[in-house]
Amino acid sequence: MDTAVADLLIEGLWLMAIGLGIVFTFLVTLVGLLVLMSKAVARWGPEETLPATTAGVHAVAPPKDDARLIAVIGAAIQAHRRRHRP
């Protein structure tokens, strides 16, 4: 049985070599493509008018509702202030 296991282990080593090889090939190629992509966008892409995000961790809920909330509150306070005006 032990020789069978040893054979498996050798196969596993091959797998590791090839597997890690592909993972690195893939991701290094991706690095290259992303660099090219960013350069292409910088040269030919449209000018961004919106403020771009610097980064962002799993931003789940868009802050849309808050925006609406604040707008409505703003309006309410405006109205309130008008009524209070001496």
Partner: protein, 377 residues
């Protein structure tokens, strides 16, 4: 009298086996960890409950006609549930940090070393009595080192369905333990000076870049590694829904409705693989040990690659962020941030660690594709 006997024989007490009792305890334990310790509750709670349900004697809920068995057949055997979760993960993930600094992909690659080392470890366990892992089993166990739940479930359901329960439990448990497993390894492998490295602020990323990113990743996957296409395809579709900005409705559906509903069903389905015969074996013990090893090796490999990059860039990369390459998003990045702050109260590494962190998700999906291509079939 006879009727009462029949009745008694249909109760759980009369039929319960010690395996089932133990598994009920295991299920209870998972629920305890989920609620009291907040160990990845979104999945461990349904998994634990699924373990309870599938070990109720007589009921046969995990069998082919039982509810859990049917959900497993419908959603996990086909691979659809983990892929839908990946769709949601894509829609929830912001890859900006990775686009701003693509070189962090190398860190995400290095951390996958844990996967392949664990694969070897699983094969080596065959020297011990009681272990008989095939190459496919070993590959499925190794993917625990990818620290990515849906990827682990997807691969295990393809390569080693009998081990799925143990693998899923190990994957999510260790993902929850990242804040405990990683820091000592990170501290041991880095010098004080290295942990103190302050990194340049990330450049802003344009909307167009964020839209093109998923398409670039998918094209590369199509050309180099079609076996990873289901996983990478769903991840990038989710991300494109998010970043395109024109299908807000669909993006929200992927982030909420789909992922929430599927999570409940997926957890229950995995629980159906937590039966005594499949789980209460020495193999499970081996899987749990190997899982911890996988995380540790992955972390170490990431940090070491971080040190290499630190050298090569003349000290512009803080090696700690390499630890985030195992994925476990966003926990691992937060751990990096915390360990960094211990050394220097003003050195916030969170954003810098997000790059390798999301790179780790892609890395382990790629590794899963490699394993499917080489071992599956």
């Amino acid at each position: 009298m006879e009727a009462l006997l029949t009745l008694w024989q249909s109760t759980g007490i009369a039929n319960v086996t010690w395996r089932e009792l133990l598994m009920l305890l295991v299920g209870g334990g998972l629920i305890y960890l989920a609620i009291a310790k907040r160990f990845e509750p979104l999945l461990l709670l349904p998994i634990g409950f699924g373990a309870l349900l599938s070990n109720i004697p007589v009921a046969g809920m995990a069998g082919p006609d039982g509810m859990l068995g049917m959900i497993y057949h419908f959603g996990v055997e086909t691979g659809i549930f983990p892929l839908l979760i990946f769709l949601g993960v894509g829609a929830l993930t912001d890859f900006s940090a990775l686009i701003a600094r693509p070189s962090t992909l190398i860190l995400g690659a290095a951390a996958q070393f844990g996967i392949f080392a664990t694969l070897l470890g699983a094969l080596a366990l065959n020297f011990l009595p009681g272990f008989d892992f095939s190459l496919a089993d070993a590959a499925a166990i190794g993917i625990i080192g990818g620290a990515d739940g849906p990827t682990a479930i997807f691969l295990a359901s393809r390569l080693a369905p009998d081990l799925l329960g143990a693998i899923a439990v190990a994957a999510y448990s260790y993902m929850a333990l990242v804040p405990i497993i990683q820091p000592p390894i990170m501290r041991a492998l880095t010098t004080k000076a290295e942990r103190n490295v302050v990194m340049e602020q990330l450049r802003p990323v344009s909307r167009l870049e964020r839209i093109l990113f998923p398409l670039v990743v998918l094209c590369l996957c199509a050309l180099l590694l079609p076996a990873a296409a289901p996983l990478i395809g769903m991840l990038t579709l989710g991300n494109l829904l998010r970043e395109s900005g024109v299908v807000e409705r669909l993006s929200r559906a992927a982030q909420n409705e789909i992922i929430n509903v599927v999570t409940i069903l997926l957890g229950l389905a995995i629980g159906s693989k937590l039966s005594g015969e499949l789980f209460l074996t020495t193999q499970t013990l081996g899987i749990l040990v190997l899982g911890a090893v996988a995380f540790s090796i992955g972390t170490a490999a990431g940090v070491i690659m971080g040190k290499i990059m630190c050298r090569l860039t003349g000290g512009k990369v803080n090696p700690l962020i390499g630890a985030a390459g195992v994925s476990a998003v966003p926990m691992a990045a937060r751990v990096v941030n915390k360990v960094g702050l211990e050394e220097n109260h003003h050195n916030f590494l969170l954003m810098h660690a997000m790059g390798p962190n999301v790179a780790g998700v892609i890395g382990s999906a790629v590794a899963a594709g490699v394993l499917l291509a080489l071992v599956g079939s």
